[in-house]
Symmetry: C2
Subunit: 365 residues, 2 copies
């Protein structure tokens, strides 16, 4: 272990600093994964996740891996070789969906959008007459853009709608049932305010009935997982794999924290912190990257000023202030910063700190 314990302000694209309740729960005595008390905990987590997802789906559970495995689970369980996947791409995570889907054997139909802009549902609808799945990212972590998922739900037709809600869940409204999401996956380390390591996941009955019967992944086979995590296999709880019990306990505490504050109050807090930050950045003369009207409050993308060295500023923030912010991705690696205010960090204190620190860093780095 390092001899010095660092206390970072995690204002990057995630992980954020966890809610203190979520961290405290990691220190609780461990339970076995088949302990009746742990099974009850899984049930509570399922209930809490249904609230965060805005769904009644029975099969709503934390997968035992990070958000990217949630993406893989979505495609592995829905795509048989040759099936058509229409994928809206307006950032890195849409791009990644194409890669994951193609490895499962999908015929991928790309609908490319300019980075920084939202998904255009009409273009997605026009891309293919009869796709097996349509997929898109609700809150693009790479660009700071929110897309209208209800609009995708409205045009999905008979296709299953797969949605990446990694950065939206817990920080802005996600209404899976109302919007027509068939499969949603997320991460714990963004607005849910829990350490990374689990992928909150939900799948509708409609999608579950159409699922791949023997997916190439045993670990992410929802037919098998359902038996353990939701008791939905009909035969009660069956052992599948050893659940990451400490992380699930932390997730329970994080969800409890959110629901105690009130989900509406939490999303409002994210909204207000993001607005404060974005106004403050513009007042400093900086230019925001994402299209106006489609800016995520919880993850702000801002252009690096002409003549400023992006990496030097990030290094200065880390070394002088213990503040982490993110660089851009792909072609924007050095021209965009990503500033996250997620979970407990979505508050005016964090905004004041990052604005002051960033100003000094730009001036002095």
């Amino acid at each position: 272990m390092s001899t010095t314990v660092l206390q970072r302000h995690l204002f990057g694209p995630g992980p954020c600093n966890p809610y203190p309740e979520a961290t405290a729960a990691l220190g609780l005595p461990l339970l076995g994964h088949l302990d009746p008390a742990f099974i009850a905990r899984m049930d509570r987590v399922g209930d809490g996740l249904r609230t965060l997802w805005g769904t009644k789906n029975t099969r709503t559970l934390p997968l035992s891996a990070t958000g990217s495995a949630g993406m893989e689970a979505a495609f592995v369980n829905t795509i048989n070789p040759g099936d058509v996947a229409v994928i809206a791409i307006n950032g890195l995570f849409g791009e990644r969906m194409c890669e994951v889907a193609s490895r499962v054997g999908a015929e991928v139909v790309r609908v490319d959008h300019e980075y920084g802009t939202p998904i255009d549902a009409e273009r997605v609808a026009a891309a293919h007459p009869n796709p097996t799945v349509i997929a898109g990212v609700h809150a693009e972590t790479s660009t700071g853009v929110v897309s209208d998922i209800a609009a995708l739900g409205a045009i999905k037709g008979d296709a299953l709608l797969i949605v990446d809600a990694v950065t939206s869940i817990g920080g802005m409204p996600v209404l899976a049932d109302e919007w027509g999401i068939d499969i949603g996956y997320a991460g714990t380390q963004k607005c849910i305010g829990v350490a990374p390591g689990l992928a909150p996941f939900t799948i509708s009955d409609r999608a579950f009935e159409r699922r791949v019967q023997k997916p190439q992944s045993w670990y992410l086979d929802l037919g098998l997982l359902g038996g353990y995590a939701t008791g939905a296999s009909g035969g009660g709880r069956t052992y599948h794999h050893t659940a990451p019990v400490a992380m699930v306990t932390s997730l329970e505490a994080g969800i409890d924290r959110i629901l105690a504050e009130g989900l509406d109050a939490v999303t409002t807090r994210h909204q207000e912190a993001g607005k404060l930050l974005q106004d403050g950045l513009e007042a400093m003369g900086l230019e925001l990257f994402a299209t106006e009207g489609y800016r995520l409050p919880q993850l702000t993308t801002v252009k690096v000023p002409e003549g400023t060295d992006s990496a030097k500023v990030r290094g200065y923030l880390l070394e002088r202030f213990n503040i982490e912010i993110g660089g851009g991705v792909g072609q924007y690696a050095n021209t965009v910063w990503r500033i996250g205010l997620m979970g407990p960090n979505a508050n005016p204190t964090s905004v004041a700190l990052i604005l002051a620190a960033l100003k000094e860093a730009i001036d002095k780095a």
Copy 2:
């Protein structure tokens, strides 16, 4: 969260109670997964895991999921459709290997052994003249049996040797390089004494060079993972997915704890605790399940006495003593108990407790 915090003695097949250092580390302030301080931590974890695995393999890392995902990673990265996998089966986890390998498209050649007996390397060698991989379980969690992995290494020929070390690593010697293991996977929640959630993994250069170039799993693609976790891609650290930073920090602390005590001392402690337990069980008139000479010290299988209700005894232990032990698996579900003494639980105190408690439970349940 439950209003009552339960303090269980986890004497089942895993998870065990973690080392206190590993639990304490979960409460440390979180680092970002790309923070230089976290990268240094990943390096240290890699070094520590090399010691536990007995290997010099550069690509030695914790996968971001549980041990079962380690099994999946082993096959996903080595098997192209139609490749022959000779799999030694002497328990549930050998059985699971067949399922995982077949989903990747392997032609599985089964070498079945009676449950409770070790793997017979000669039978494995005779099963197929030229397999792509040979696979077996070092310490079968389902039966409490240890197998001679060096003997498999000696007969592997040109095949890659895949070994499940989930229950052995950290509790008994594992000498990957000396024994000829090409790919090994494990879990954190057994003798390493850390909560479940990561899969310590190692792959030899020989296996890495022969790897599947574009495995069906993006999440478990070692070609991509290596770039982040080991910097071995040549281009330095590249982002792949968000590492479960809290769990990795806990793993670092668990490994530090083991190495501070001394790996030899730790394995001796497991050896001695297991011997004490097994002698004590026999002194109580109980019969051990695993073949003599091949009994795991860290996981003891014992036959349920004639006329005793297995589940009632386990329920009594849990309710009266907060002690968890495991039932058997498959056809032995109700006729065998599994008692684990792993990590910090491998000590005379635990032995005295479980023997006294089990005696009362058998008498009174």
